[in-house]
C-alpha cells in the first residue's frame, strides 16, 4: 500500500511537470487531487485496512496530499509568471521612435542674458532700477557733463523727436541722475537696464535699438580698486571663474578716470580667434569713477562721496556666447532662431 502511495506521488509530480497552461493544470488537479483521484480513493479505503496499518498509511497519504497541493500552487504561480513574461515580450516598443512633441515656451535670449546679469549683480547687492526711454536732452547729456556743442557729443548719434529737447535716450546713463536724485544722500548700488537708441546705419554689429545695462555704486568709500574688483567678479561669474580681465584707460564724459574692461577671449582662451579678431581679448564694458559734476548733479557732494559706474551691452554678451553673427537676429524674431534657445 505504501508502495502504491509512492507510485501515486511520483506519477502525479511527473504529470504536473508536463502541464503548460491553466487548462491542463486544472485537469491535472481533478485527476490527482479530485474526488475520484487514486489518492482520494486511498483515503476512502482507509477504513478497510487492517487496524495496525491504518496510522502509517493515513500519515503517508496526508503527506502525499500536502506535497501534491504545494506542487500545484508552485506550478500554478510559475505558469502565471511565464504567461506575464510572454505578454510583456509582445508589448515591446521601439524606444528609438521620437517622443510626443511638447509645445514648449522659451524666454527670448535677451531676457535670459538680462536675468543672468540681474542675478550676478543682485548677489553683490545691486538692485534693478529702471527709467524712461524717451528722455530730455538735459538728463541724457547735460546733467551727465556733456554740454551742448561739446565735442564729446560726437560719441553718440542721437535720435531727436519733433519736440525740442526731447530725444530717445542714447544710453541708460540718464538713469544715474534719476536714481541719485531719488535716493540721495543714501548709498546706492543699482543696475539700470533698458532699451537705448542710436542713429546708426544698420549693420551686423550695430542696430538702432539695443539694450544696455548700466551699473552705479555711490558711497563714502568707493574706489577705483572696488570698480576693478566688482567688475572682475562679474566677469568671472559671467564668463568663467578663471577668466582674466584687463582695464584700459578710456574716456566717457560722465566718469573720471574711465576704463574699458576687456576679458580674455573665452572662445580661444586668449590665443586669438575669429571671434576676438585674433587679439585674444574681448571688449565687454565701459566704466569709471563717477565724475564729480555728475555726483553733484545727482545731489552728492564729490568731496565726501565717490562712486563708480559701468555700462555693457547684453546683446553683445549673448552674441559672443552663442556665436551669433548678426545682431539683427535678436530683433527679427525668426522662430528658427528663437527656438534654439
Amino acid at each position: 500500500m505504501l508502495e502504491s502511495l509512492n507510485q501515486i506521488e511520483r506519477q502525479a509530480l511527473n504529470e504536473l511537470e508536463a502541464t503548460q497552461d491553466e487548462d491542463s493544470l486544472q485537469r491535472w488537479k481533478v485527476a490527482h487531487l479530485g474526488r475520484n483521484s487514486p489518492l482520494m480513493r486511498v483515503f476512502d479505503h482507509l477504513g478497510a485496512l487492517p487496524k495496525e496499518e491504518r496510522p502509517s498509511i493515513g500519515r503517508r497519504a496526508n503527506e502525499v496530499k500536502r506535497a501534491l497541493e504545494s506542487a500545484f500552487e508552485a506550478r500554478s504561480q510559475a505558469l502565471v509568471q511565464a504567461a506575464v513574461l510572454r505578454s510583456l515580450q509582445a508589448e515591446r516598443l521601439d524606444v528609438t521612435l521620437p517622443g510626443r512633441p511638447i509645445a514648449r515656451g522659451r524666454l527670448h535670449p535677451n531676457t535670459q542674458t538680462l536675468r543672468r546679469i540681474y542675478r550676478i549683480f543682485g548677489d553683490m547687492g545691486f538692485q534693478v532700477f529702471r527709467s524712461r526711454e524717451v528722455e530730455t536732452d538735459e538728463y541724457n547729456f547735460e546733467l551727465l557733463n556733456i554740454p551742448a556743442h561739446h565735442p564729446a557729443r560726437d560719441m553718440w548719434d542721437t535720435f531727436y523727436t519733433t519736440t525740442p529737447g526731447v530725444i530717445l535716450r542714447t544710453h541708460t546713463s540718464p538713469g544715474q541722475i534719476h536714481v541719485m536724485r531719488q535716493y540721495a544722500p543714501e548709498p546706492i548700488r543699482v543696475i539700470l537696464p533698458g532699451m537705448c537708441y542710436r542713429y546708426e546705419q544698420l549693420s551686423a554689429r550695430k542696430d538702432t535699438q539695443f539694450n544696455q545695462v548700466e551699473g552705479l555704486a555711490v558711497g563714502r568709500n568707493i574706489t577705483f580698486g572696488d570698480l576693478k574688483g566688482t567688475l572682475t567678479d562679474f566677469a568671472r561669474r559671467m564668463f568663467g571663474e578663471n577668466v582674466r580681465t584687463r582695464f584700459r584707460a578710456s574716456h566717457f564724459p560722465f566718469t573720471e578716470p574711465s576704463a574699458e574692461m576687456d576679458i580674455e577671449c573665452f572662445i580661444c582662451g586668449g590665443e586669438g580667434c575669429s571671434v576676438c579678431g585674433g587679439s585674444g581679448w574681448l571688449e565687454i564694458l565701459g566704466s569709471g569713477m563717477v565724475h564729480p559734476v555728475v555726483l553733484r548733479n545727482g545731489g552728492y557732494d564729490p568731496r565726501i562721496y565717490s562712486g563708480f559706474a559701468f555700462g555693457m551691452g547684453p546683446e553683445r554678451i549673448t552674441m559672443l556666447k552663442h556665436r551669433i553673427e548678426d545682431i539683427r537676429h535678436l530683433w527679427m524674431n525668426d522662430l528658427r532662431f528663437l527656438e534654439q534657445f
Binding site: G125, H149, M289
Partner: protein, 849 residues
C-alpha cells in the same frame, strides 16, 4: 591720428618693440587701432607674442636691407626700341647697373648725357619683394630677371606704390639730393605708422608732440622739447600789419608772422613722405610747412598771400579783423562752396571783407599761390565750442577744424607761428621779418589744482606718497609743489582739459592712474555701507508673468519699438476709426518704416506672426514691452508697459502619432489667460463681450477685475486679417495692461484647508436660453450652494433637437463638502434642490432629464 614712428623718435627715445609700444599707449587710453609698417622690419614673432592679448593689426611691407637700397642715377638714356621706356645708368654703392624704367618723371633727363647732379632713388635688386605697381591694391611680387623689348631687366627704381608708401605709381621716387648712396633704404627712411584713436579728452594728443609726451611719461624717458627760436633776418614786422579782435571770448589770441621772398616749390622728399604717412597730401613748401607744424605740435596755421591782402587794403598795411558773420553774409571757401554764414560763425577778415571761416577753412582769394612771394602767417586760438557749432552747421570738416573743435591752448599759437616761420626759412628760403604781431586779449587761466594723498586713497584705493604723486604729474609737465600731504599742481600751458577745484582733482586722478598704470591698482571688494535694501515688485512680477507664459508654452519675442503709423494702421479693418492719439515722432528717422515710437504692442506681435507664417504652422508668442502714449502733463510720453499674445495653428504640435490638430480658437487663448491670472492669484476676474476694432465682434472679450480693465482679447477681425499675410487658421490675440496685472497681483494669498471628509459628487445638467452667458449659471450655482460647494466644472455644452431650438444644455459636475463631517445623502439632495430652484427662478433654467 596717424603718427610716423620716425617723427615720434625725434621727441623721445623709444627702445620698446612696436607691439609693446602700441600696448602701452592703448592701456593708457591712446588706443592704437593699427600699425602700418612702411619699410621697417616687421616685429618679430617673439615681440608679437609678448604683446599677445592686444588688439592690434600690423600690416605693411618691410624693405629687405640687402635688396632695397638707395642709389644714384648718373645718366638717363633712351631705350633703343621703346619711346616710353628709358635706361638709367645707376650706382647702387657696389656696382653700376643699367636699369629700365617707364617713369615719366625721368623723361626730362633723357638724353642729357651725364647729369651734373646725380638723381637719388630707391633701388630694388633682383629677388626683392615689393608690391606690384600694375595691380590694383597691394599685391606682393618678387623681382625676377626678364627681357623687356630686347633689354635685360632684373631690378627697378621704385615708385611709392611699389614700396607701400602710397598709391602713387605715376613716377619713381626722387629722394632728397643729400641722400647717401648704397645704404639700406629701410635705414634711410623706413618707418611705421601708428594709427591712434583720439578721444575728446585727449585732444592735446592729436599731434606727434602730444603722443611723444605720453610715451615719455609712460616710459620714464625725457621729452625732447622743440626749439621755437627763429632766425629772423628781415625788417621789423611792426607796422606791416595789424590785428583787431572784436570778441576775445571767441578769439582769445591771434598771432601773425611774415616770411618774405619765399620760393615756392615742392617740399623736401622726407617732408612729403612724413605728410603722406600722416595722411595729408603735400602741396608746396609753404602749405606743407603749415600742415607739418599742425601735425607736429597740434597748432593749425593759415598762410595768406601778403601782397593780395595789401592790394585789398589799397596798398596799405592790411588790418586783420576777427568778428562774427553779419546777417546774410556769404563766403566762398577753398572747396569752392559759397556758404551762407550763421551769426555765431567767426570770420577772419580784412577791411575789404571776409577772408576765411576762422579755424575751419580759408577763402579762395587770399590763398597762397605759385606766384606768392610774401607770406603772412596766422596762428590763432578759437573757442572750441563755437568752432564745433560752425563745423556742424556748415557740415564742413578739415584737419584744422578737427583740432580747433576739440580745443587748442592759446599758448600754442605763438609756438606754431615760430616753428612754421623757421621751416619756411629753411624750405622756401624765406626771409623772416623781425618779431611777431601778437594780440592776446584773453589768456586762459591754467588751473592750479590741489590733490592730497587721502584724495588718492579715497578715489583710487591706493596709497601714494606726496612725492610719488608729484613725480607722476611732473612726467606730464605739471609744475608741482608739496605741502604736507597735499600736492599743488600747475596745469601746463598746452592742455585745456583740466578743471578747477574738485573737478580738477578728478582730472588729475585720471592722469595719476593712467601714468601709474591701471593694471597696478589692486582689485578690491567694496566695503562701503550697503544701501537700504528695497524690493522691486514691478520687475519681480513682470518676470513672473514671463515665466508663467513660458510655462504655458508661449515663446517670448522682442521687437523693434520704432515703427510707422502706416504699419500700425494695419491692425484695423479699413474704415475703422483711426488711431488719433499723437505719436512720438522722430525728427531724424533713419528709415521710412521707423518714424515713430509704437502705440500698439499688438501690431508688433502681428508682424512677427506674419514674418513666420510660412515657416511655422503653429505659433504661440508673447511680448512684454512698452507703448509710448503722449501724456497731457508734460513733454515726455507715458511709457505704458503692455503684454501682447498671439496664437495660431493646430492645438498640438505635429508628431508621428495622432494629435489634436484642430486649429486653436478663442477658448485656447482664454485658457492661457485664465491660467496666467490664476498663476498670479488675481481673483474676481470677469470676462465680458467687448467690441474692439481689431477683433471679430462676436469673438472678443474684455477682462475686468472690479472697475479695472486688464485688456482685451479675441480672434483677429477678418477685415484686419487681410492686411497681413497670415496662415489659414484663426489668429487669436490679446493685448493686456501690465500695470493692471502687476497692481492686481496680491502680495500674499491664503490657501483653503485640504478637506478631511470625502465630498459628495454629482452631475447637474440644465437647459437655458442660447443667449444666456454661462457665467450667470455658474454664479447662481455658487450662490445657491454656498460654502458647501467644493468643486464646480462645466463638462459639456449641448445643443440639439432633444432640447429644442434656441436652447442649450450646460452640464456641470459638482462636489459638495463639509469641513466638519461627511455630508449625508439628504443634505446633498437639499443643496441640489436649492440650486435647481434658484436656477429656475432666476434664469428660467430647466433641469435636463
Amino acid at each position: 591720428m596717424k603718427i610716423p614712428l620716425s617723427w615720434l623718435k625725434e621727441f623721445v627715445d623709444i627702445q620698446l618693440p612696436l607691439p609693446e609700444l602700441a600696448r602701452l599707449l592703448t592701456m593708457a587710453g591712446l588706443e592704437v587701432e593699427a600699425i602700418q609698417v612702411v619699410g621697417l622690419p616687421m616685429p618679430s614673432s617673439a615681440d608679437l607674442h609678448s604683446a599677445a592679448h592686444h588688439e592690434i593689426k600690423i600690416e605693411g611691407l618691410s624693405w629687405e636691407a640687402d635688396k632695397i637700397v638707395t642709389a644714384a642715377v648718373y645718366e638717363v638714356m633712351p631705350h633703343p626700341n621703346a619711346d616710353r621706356l628709358v635706361l638709367c645708368r645707376l650706382d647702387d654703392g657696389q656696382q653700376e647697373h643699367i636699369v629700365l624704367t617707364g617713369a615719366p618723371n625721368l623723361y626730362p633727363y633723357k638724353g642729357l648725357g651725364a647729369l651734373p647732379e646725380p638723381l637719388k632713388v630707391p633701388y630694388a635688386k633682383e629677388g626683392a619683394r615689393i608690391y606690384d605697381g600694375h595691380q590694383p591694391g597691394r599685391v606682393l611680387t618678387t623681382l625676377k630677371r626678364a627681357k623687356i623689348r630686347g633689354i635685360d631687366s632684373y631690378s627697378m627704381i621704385c615708385s611709392e606704390k611699389e614700396l607701400g608708401i602710397s598709391d602713387e605709381h605715376e613716377g619713381v621716387i626722387l629722394l632728397d639730393p643729400d641722400a647717401p648712396v648704397g645704404v639700406p633704404l629701410a635705414d634711410y627712411m623706413g618707418d611705421a605708422v601708428l594709427d591712434i584713436a583720439i578721444t575728446p579728452n585727449i585732444a592735446r594728443c592729436a599731434s606727434v608732440l602730444g603722443v611723444a609726451r605720453e610715451v615719455a611719461a609712460l616710459t620714464g624717458q625725457p621729452l625732447r622739447q622743440l626749439d621755437y627760436s627763429v632766425q629772423m633776418e628781415g625788417p621789423s614786422i611792426e607796422g606791416m600789419a595789424s590785428i583787431e579782435i572784436q570778441e576775445p571770448e571767441l578769439n582769445p589770441r591771434f598771432v601773425l608772422g611774415l616770411a618774405q621772398n619765399v620760393i615756392i616749390r615742392p617740399s623736401p622728399y622726407k617732408v612729403q613722405l612724413r605728410l603722406k604717412l600722416a595722411g595729408m597730401r603735400p602741396i608746396d613748401n609753404i602749405v606743407d610747412a603749415t600742415n607739418y607744424v599742425m601735425l607736429e605740435i597740434g597748432q593749425p596755421l593759415h598762410a595768406f598771400d601778403y601782397d593780395v591782402l595789401k592790394q585789398r587794403a589799397g596798398g596799405n598795411p592790411p588790418t586783420i579783423i576777427t568778428r562774427r558773420a553779419r546777417p546774410g553774409e556769404r563766403l566762398t571757401t577753398l572747396d569752392d562752396v559759397e556758404r551762407e554764414l550763421d551769426d555765431f560763425t567767426v570770420l577772419v577778415c580784412d577791411t575789404a571783407g571776409a577772408l576765411s571761416i576762422a579755424g575751419v577753412m580759408g577763402g579762395a582769394e587770399s590763398e597762397v599761390s605759385a606766384q606768392s612771394r610774401n607770406i603772412l602767417l596766422e596762428g590763432a586760438a578759437w573757442n572750441f565750442i563755437n568752432i564745433r557749432r560752425t563745423v556742424s552747421a556748415q557740415k564742413l570738416q578739415s584737419e584744422a577744424a578737427y583740432r580747433f573743435s576739440r580745443g587748442v591752448h592759446p599758448a600754442m599759437a605763438e609756438r606754431g607761428v615760430r616753428r612754421c616761420l623757421e621751416l619756411m626759412r629753411r624750405w622756401a628760403d624765406g626771409v623772416i621779418a623781425q618779431g611777431l604781431i601778437d594780440n592776446y586779449p584773453l589768456p586762459p587761466r591754467d588751473p592750479m589744482v590741489e590733490i592730497s594723498t587721502s584724495d588718492v586713497r579715497r578715489w583710487l584705493g591706493i596709497d601714494l606718497t606726496p612725492q610719488e604723486i608729484a613725480d607722476l604729474l611732473a612726467r606730464l609737465e605739471f609744475k608741482t609743489e608739496i605741502f604736507g600731504q597735499t600736492v599743488r599742481a600747475q596745469t601746463p600751458d598746452h592742455r585745456l582739459d583740466i578743471g578747477e577745484g574738485v573737478v580738477g582733482m578728478a582730472d588729475l586722478m585720471e592722469e595719476i592712474a593712467r601714468i601709474y598704470g591701471y593694471e597696478r591698482i589692486p582689485e578690491t571688494r567694496m566695503n562701503d555701507e550697503l544701501p537700504p535694501q528695497r524690493n522691486n515688485l514691478e520687475l519681480e512680477r513682470e518676470e513672473r508673468i514671463r515665466d508663467a507664459l513660458v510655462n504655458l508654452g508661449l515663446q517670448e519675442i522682442a521687437t523693434y519699438r520704432l515703427t510707422s503709423p502706416e504699419r500700425e494702421a494695419r491692425r484695423f479693418p479699413p474704415g475703422a476709426a483711426p488711431d488719433d492719439l499723437p505719436y512720438i515722432q522722430l525728427a531724424n528717422p533713419i528709415a521710412a518704416d521707423r518714424t515713430v515710437m509704437r502705440h500698439s504692442l499688438l501690431s508688433s506681435v502681428l508682424e512677427v506672426v506674419e514674418r513666420n507664417a510660412r515657416l511655422r504652422p503653429r505659433m504661440a508668442l508673447f511680448e512684454i514691452g512698452p507703448v509710448y502714449l503722449a501724456s497731457e502733463e508734460g513733454l515726455l510720453p507715458d511709457e505704458v508697459p503692455r503684454l501682447a499674445i498671439a496664437l495660431s495653428g493646430p492645438r498640438a504640435p505635429a508628431g508621428w502619432q495622432e494629435a489634436d490638430n484642430a486649429p486653436m480658437d478663442f477658448y485656447d487663448l482664454k485658457g492661457i489667460l485664465e491660467a496666467l491670472l490664476e498663476d498670479l492669484h488675481i481673483t474676481g476676474v470677469r470676462y465680458e463681450p467687448a467690441e474692439h476694432p481689431s477683433f471679430h465682434p462676436g469673438k472678443c472679450a474684455r477682462i475686468r477685475v472690479g472697475e479695472q480693465v486688464l485688456g482685451v482679447f479675441g480672434e483677429l477681425h477678418p477685415l484686419a486679417r487681410v492686411n497681413y499675410e497670415l496662415p489659414e487658421t484663426p489668429l487669436l490675440a490679446a493685448e493686456l495692461n501690465m500695470r493692471a496685472l502687476i497692481s492686481l497681483t496680491p502680495d500674499r494669498f491664503e490657501i483653503s484647508a485640504v478637506p478631511v471628509f470625502p465630498p459628495v459628487l454629482e452631475d447637474l445638467a440644465v437647459v437655458v436660453d442660447e443667449n444666456l452667458p454661462a457665467d450667470q449659471v455658474e454664479a447662481v450655482i455658487r450662490q445657491a450652494s454656498g460654502k458647501a460647494l467644493a468643486g464646480l466644472r462645466l463638462f459639456d455644452v449641448y445643443r440639439g433637437e432633444q432640447i429644442g431650438a434656441g436652447k442649450k444644455s450646460l452640464a456641470y459636475s459638482l462636489a459638495y463638502q463639509s469641513p466638519e463631517r461627511t455630508l449625508t445623502a439628504e443634505e446633498a439632495q437639499k443643496i441640489r434642490q436649492r440650486i435647481i430652484r434658484q436656477l429656475e427662478r432666476e434664469l428660467g433654467a430647466k433641469l435636463r432629464s
